[in-house]
Symmetry: C2
Subunit: 142 residues, 2 copies
DNA sequence: CCTAAATCGTTGGTAGCACCAACGATAACA
DNA sequence: TGTTATCGTTGGTGCTACCAACGATTTAGG
């Protein structure tokens, strides 16, 4: 409707789309008592196994200093354990607990619902295109 | 490389893409002494004409309370004027100054460069697809 | 072996963006 | 006229993403 150049700037469009995704996520995760950060780290642990915090940072793209707070939170919820790595005293080994894996299973439905609500305006072909394109755009910062 | 479910979640991919866009934007705008918010409002004023703050909020999707701070900033830089609307004393009329329009022209190059850097990994066809899809995804919150 | 460089976790701080509740002033509507 | 709606504003929250600096520890180079 608005014939502004804003509507043609991909990064602004992306901002808006992200804001919408963010709102949907915040909503769904708040209802489930979690957050995007928490489930991202939890999913990484469940899918790729226990890891040091630095490696979690690399896997998820979350800043190491933020990982500290996230792991604190996960530990206090007893969803992961944090132990000093016997082979490298600099490292903490973060391991999902049984409760952590259960929580992620529970969150799975939430995550699926978030995707569904967010992608609702798109058909299957568009969804595939989006996935392919975003993968390129999300590539590691050079 | 990482075979995690994270890489298949569109909203997470979008997060990462947005973070990358954000970094590029922040970088470019910082060098130009501006910000995404400022240029969004400025562009709206230049493209669609003077407006009340409430209308600026609707045009740009920025919260009215944030528009206050943005207009404060723009006024202090003498890029816009803010005057009480003689026809409706509730409203402020925000009008770009000559300097404001010049500033936007200057920012135009910055904005173009931001898009180019962000879209670099995509070919023309993918860029068109992205634009079309994001437009659907960025639709007004229902 | 010993020193220099790198890595790890942590603290504490910043920033952008998005949003909310509440309020006084003003305008529109019934 | 009285009620409802709109507008600008203040002050606050939350999520995500960063950065600099530090002590502790490990690795790599000479």
């Amino acid at each position: 409707m608005a014939p502004s150049r804003i509507d043609r700037m991909p990064t602004w469009l992306l901002s808006r789309a992200h804001a919408r995704a963010q709102a949907i996520r915040a909503d769904a995760f708040a209802a489930a008592g979690s957050s995007g950060y928490l489930s991202r780290v939890l999913a990484s642990l469940a899918d790729e196994g226990a890891a040091s915090q630095a490696e979690l940072s690399r896997r998820t793209g979350i800043d190491p200093s933020d990982v500290v707070a996230i792991v604190n939170d996960l530990v206090s919820r007893r969803l992961v354990t944090r132990e000093r790595d016997p082979r490298d005293a600099r490292r903490n080994v973060v391991t999902p607990t049984r409760a952590g894996r259960a929580e992620l299973a529970r969150l799975g439905a939430v995550i699926t619902e978030i995707q569904e609500r967010f992608l609702a305006p798109l058909n299957d072909s568009e969804r595939r295109q989006l996935q392919r394109i975003l993968t390129k755009l999300a590539e590691d910062r050079q």
